[in-house]
Amino acid sequence: MTMSEEIKATKVIDARGSFCPGPLMELIRAYKEAKTGDVISVYSTDNGTKKDAPVWIKKSGNELVGIFDREGYIEIVMKKTR
């Protein structure tokens, strides 16, 4: 079971194969459309996302639920808190 399944992601973005800053911009796009309390999960094969996404989540005042190494990709989960 993945963390996003445990927490029940409201929205899953599969940005695998997209290069930086694509996955982060996809996350921001989803954030704009989400409601407060929604959980957003993004899959990425770009290592830059591991660094960029958490910084953005923190700066934007939202909650980083976790960063998970999956088979061949990473999963970053955030909760919209504002």
Partner: protein, 380 residues
């Protein structure tokens, strides 16, 4: 004799024009019909938008009549595409006409979505089309000092270096007018750096520091308040301004969404190495219309067209073309007074040699002439 093949190109901007002219040079007019659909009357060389507001160039030299830019043997249809029917290999035009194709190349570009940012219209300026560029020039003429905020509102946007190029020329312009010491320049950027590529960003950031340009990173614009004169990011930061120069949000064209070809943002999902749309081997997209992870720029359209024209010329003559497009681009960008740098990069390889030179500036300065006389014509 083989039946004549129909190649239809949608869009008369850089991508559509270069593609048509390059393909025409590689194919026989008796065997391949090339038609371009577009509704512009004038073709504007957008990179000059960073020069025109400072009166460094006259806009009249950056504009040519669209219909004169196609090589002999290219049919130009002045019309607007309203629907693309990929399963039935047809496109519908606003005039009521329909076109069928053997190969379709979508080069419809992108559009500005001002409504995404409340308060943008009537308050923010930009230099991404000619009317707004001229308007910005007037605003700068009457600017007497204060706080200028400049940058892209979000990603993606056309010509990623253009905001920093404009900022360097703005700094130079204000020094020339003797009001730089009365002006703060604030540069905003959506990522946690000042450019998409880290090593280029590091280089630009140093130049910004040397010129006292203040940066605000992780700044994705949410709204503009014209009464209080401040711009706010979705990250919760607010910056006041006297003059706001903001690259508008970009989206794919509505016809792409209406035709059910759009992915996120209204852009077309194409194979990054073959440039074809999904599983279709007769539908391609190039230029700003795609979701490819590279710059939305004329340089990209140029390199994509080079690849695709070669590929289609082979296929139209019954041969197999097994080479891939690797995202290769060369792009010359201004870094200050009389200086520029040329960045060479691809999907997998970021720019390596990053240095400024006067020769690169000369290359940039003359690029409109090169563009209209050679690049658009498909001879380079």
């Amino acid at each position: 004799m083989l039946p004549v093949k129909n190649v239809v190109i949608l869009g008369d901007g850089a991508a559509g024009t270069i593609m048509a002219n390059k393909l025409r040079m590689l194919t026989d007019v008796k065997e391949t019909r090339i038609s371009v659909v577009g509704n512009s009357t004038k073709h504007y060389f957008k990179p000059d938008g960073v020069h025109i507001p400072f009166k460094l160039k006259r806009y009249q030299n950056s504009v040519k009549p669209t219909r004169f830019l196609f090589n002999y043997g290219v049919e130009y249809i002045h019309d607007e595409v309203i629907l693309i029917d990929v399963p039935h290999r047809t496109v519908q035009l606003k005039s009521g006409k329909g076109l069928s194709y053997d190969y379709l190349i979508i080069a419809t570009g992108d559009r500005f979505d001002y409504n995404e940012i409340p308060g943008y219209i009537g308050e923010a300026k930009h230099f991404y089309d000619l009317p707004h560029t001229l308007e910005l020039g007037n605003s700068l003429d009457s600017f007497k000092g204060g706080k200028i905020v400049i940058g892209p509102s979000s990603i993606p946007y056309q010509c990623p270096p253009a905001p920093y190029e404009f900022t360097f020329l703005l700094d130079q312009y204000l020094r020339g007018r003797g009001i730089r010491d009365k002006t703060e320049i604030h540069y905003i950027f959506p990522l946690n750096r000042v450019f998409t590529m880290q090593n280029v960003s590091d280089f630009i950031e140093k130049l910004f520091e040397e010129r006292d340009i203040i940066t605000h990173t992780l700044f994705n614009v949410e709204s503009v308040n014209g009464l209080n004169k401040n711009v706010t990011s979705i990250e919760g930061e607010s910056v006041s301004y006297d003059l706001l120069i903001l690259v508008p949000p970009h989206k794919g064209q509505t016809v792409i969404t209406k035709s059910e070809l759009a992915g996120p943002g209204g852009y077309i999902d194409v194979d990054r190495h073959k440039l074809n749309y999904k599983d279709y081997d007769d539908v391609f997209a190039i230029g700003d219309a795609t979701n490819l992870p590279i710059s939305k720029a004329g340089a990209t359209a140029h390199f994509e067209s080079e690849y695709l024209a070669n590929r289609l010329a082979h296929e139209l003559s019954g041969n197999v073309y097994d080479e891939d497009y690797n995202g290769e681009i060369a792009c010359t960008t201004i870094t200050g007074a009389g200086r520029a740098m040329t960045l060479y990069f691809s999907y997998e390889r970021p720019p390596r040699a990053i240095f400024q030179s006067k020769m690169d500036y000369l290359l940039k300065w003359t690029s409109a002439d090169t563009y209209f006389s050679a690049m658009l014509r498909g001879i380079m």
